[in-house]
């Protein structure tokens, strides 16, 4: 069984947020509520301060604290290493949002992040939280795996595009979007990334490109000290950076 993981090369990432948009379209995200976000921050101080950024999907942790805290088992880890939310089970207690160190989980029913509130403009007549003009075919919607337009009062998060990757031919080491045969099984953000900064493959296969890059280029994981052991690795190279500390100085 594969253990899907992602490598993001921060030297190549230009911070264009095409991944964010692609994910939003693919997964019918409410504007502002982005499963795949690009986070901007600064390193250093004036006059040598630099603007840095890093894209942040769900890290699909090896030790997912969100799974352990979920009282209903709505959040679970699949055999192929992906962490998903079953929207038919989630009771909206938000404990998983508390327990996730990466802030990648979203509760549907909150103050709108952008105006006007799209849930009102494009109101849904059924259980869905809204009715976007673009959406995946109904047949692909799959609430058990947290795929599709989110219903009310549940928590959602990045699925690694489970509706795509779960159809990939078994044994594929890397889902390379350059390969026309694999393209439709590759996560939307990886397909769309113009500079090709994102790689997706099987971490349990030592010969996969993702495994080799993590070894050769010193892949690092976000907040690794917490022990969640993300399956998303960042290559920082010479120019990239992941924030090593929290937002504020102690002496606020």
């Amino acid at each position: 069984m594969a253990k899907w993981g992602m490598v993001i090369d921060l030297e190549k990432c230009v911070g264009c947020q095409a991944c964010t948009v692609a994910c939003g379209m693919e997964n019918s995200r409410l504007p502002g509520e982005m499963w795949q976000d690009v986070i901007f921050f600064t390193e250093g101080t004036h006059p040598s301060a630099q603007l840095k950024w890093f894209p942040r999907p769900c890290q699909h942790c090896e030790n997912p604290s969100c799974v352990a805290v979920c009282p209903t088992h709505a959040t679970y880890k699949t055999e192929d290493g992906v962490v998903l939310v079953d929207w038919n089970r989630c009771i909206g207690c938000k404990y998983c949002m508390i327990a996730c160190p990466y802030g990648v989980r979203f509760y549907t029913d909150e103050k709108p992040l952008v105006a006007p509130d799209m849930r009102k403009v494009l109101a849904s007549k059924d259980d869905h939280s809204w009715n976007p003009p673009w959406k995946m075919p109904d047949a692909r919607e799959d609430w058990k795996h947290g795929v599709g337009i989110q219903p009310h009062d549940v928590v959602s998060k990045c699925t690694f595009c489970y509706h795509r990757i779960s159809k990939a031919p078994p044994g594929t080491p890397d889902l390379d979007p350059q390969d026309p045969k694999l393209r439709e099984f590759t996560p939307a953000c990886v397909v769309t990334c113009a500079p090709g900064a994102r790689y997706f493959g099987d971490l349990s296969n030592p010969n996969s490109e993702v495994s080799r890059m993590i070894g050769d280029k010193r892949g690092v994981r976000l907040l690794d000290q917490l022990g969640n052991k993300p399956q998303v690795y960042y290559l920082t190279g010479d120019g990239g950076a992941v924030p090593s500390s929290r937002a504020i100085n102690k002496k606020v």
Partner: protein, 409 residues
């Protein structure tokens, strides 16, 4: 108050209705709290049906759990504290506490129900919880165990109250229920503490001390609730109280226990602040922010340190008015504590980046505030109901003797 207590369910229902036309302290509390409950609950339902949980000020990239969770924790821990205080008489044989035991158990039931009610209105799918939690069996989740223990706790409380109502104080079965209830409530409140204390990614909560703190501060808030309720029931005048209750109220044991509990909670709070300010660990910055809020100082100095001194002062500790003042301050202080604890633990962003450059702000919305009112008025209404329909000061005969000895010193 000398009521004639109903013996059957029908009498109880008509007794509750009749209370609307009666004229005494309990009836006033009943009428006022039912009215407030109807209004606040009506508003909350209206908002939930029109806006849904978007009417809350909680947010995914800041404070996920707001005042509703704080209110739940507040009531759940008052309930646990009351149960532990009742156990002094029913489990540990301190018979002088029997005169408050039945009242404690009733209050524990009503505060737990109030807490659950608020929680149900906070959850996205409260009804789904009824099948999804038992069928999910996620035994790693502290929330799972908290739910299991609190449900057992509530069941045992109801059985215990029934037995007390039947004047069964000391049968082996009643004793067993008391012991089982004590164990369940320690597990429940301790687990509620672990629900927060297990979160290594939230350093302001992290650690087993959180669990111990929850149990002990629960006992403090339970103590405050029982003192307040006893005085409330007798019009704030010890002369109206039955003999054995008066001797308990006027003995110096009560203020001593009260002061000790406040002292313990203060030690916990101040040592936590010390560690928070001293430690360089990333994520502890929230303690600095905490220290900068007036609420924190109101809680520590006015709502805890002041009652602590009152209950130590020989000239004040026995005066009903100071005991009542102390209990009200502690109840208010504990509410601030629950809210601050829960909010401060979340509002240091996990890492720096867009939109998250400082402590995330949070103020409860109108709906969330109304939900707090729902909790308080539910507890008060059910309390008044119990007061009117059952003699909450009932106690076994031998405890009267013990209380008499206490009064004579």
């Amino acid at each position: 108050m000398n009521f004639i207590y109903p013996k059957t369910v029908n009498e109880a229902i008509s007794g509750a209705l009749k209370m609307f036309g009666e004229n005494h302290v309990t009836a006033t509390i009943w009428k006022a709290s039912v009215a407030v409950l109807a209004a606040s609950l009506g508003f909350v339902f209206y908002m939930l049906f029109t806006e849904g949980h978007a009417s809350f000020n909680t947010s995914s990239d800041g404070v996920n759990w707001g005042s509703a969770i704080a209110t739940y924790v507040y009531f759940a821990l008052i309930s646990s504290g009351l149960t532990i205080i009742a156990s002094l008489a029913t489990v540990f044989g301190f018979k002088q506490f029997y005169p408050v035991a039945k009242r404690c158990i009733w209050l524990a039931i009503v505060t737990l129900i109030a807490g659950f009610a608020v929680l149900a209105l906070e959850l996205g799918h409260p009804f789904r919880m009824l099948w999804a939690v038992p069928s999910g069996m996620q035994i790693y989740s502290p929330m799972f165990w908290m739910g299991v223990f609190y449900v057992i706790d509530l069941g045992l409380l109801i059985v215990k109250f029934y037995l007390m109502w039947k004047e069964d104080w000391d049968s082996p079965f009643s004793h067993f229920i008391g012991i089982a209830g004590f164990i369940a409530v320690v597990l429940a409140s301790g687990m509620l503490g672990l629900l927060f204390g297990s979160m290594a990614m939230r350093p302001m909560w992290f650690g087993s001390a959180t669990s111990v703190f929850f149990i002990l501060s629960g006992v403090l808030s339970g103590a405050a609730a029982i003192v307040f309720s006893v005085y409330l029931a007798y019009g704030f005048d010890t002369k109206n109280m039955p003999e054995q209750l008066r001797s308990l109220a006027l003995s110096d044991q009560l203020p001593k226990v009260f002061a000790t509990l406040i002292g313990i909670v203060l030690v916990f709070l101040l040592t936590r602040i010390w560690v928070g300010l001293w430690s360089n660990q990333d994520g502890m910055e929230g303690f600095v922010a905490l220290l900068n809020t007036p609420w924190f100082h109101l809680e520590v100095w006015v709502c805890l340190a002041l009652p602590f001194l009152m209950m130590l002062s020989p000239s004040m500790q026995l005066a009903p008015k100071w005991q009542v003042t102390a209990s009200i301050l502690v109840l208010a202080g504990m509410f601030i504590e629950r809210l601050q604890f829960i909010v401060a633990g979340q509002n240091v962003p996990m890492f720096k980046g867009t939109w998250m450059n400082s402590v995330t702000p949070y103020t409860p919305s109108l709906t969330e505030s109304a939900l707090v009112v729902v909790g308080i008025s539910t507890a008060l209404a059910l309390y008044a109901l119990g007061e009117r329909l059952s003699n909450l000061s009932a106690a076994p005969k031998e405890s009267i003797e013990a209380a008499g000895q206490l009064a004579r010193g």
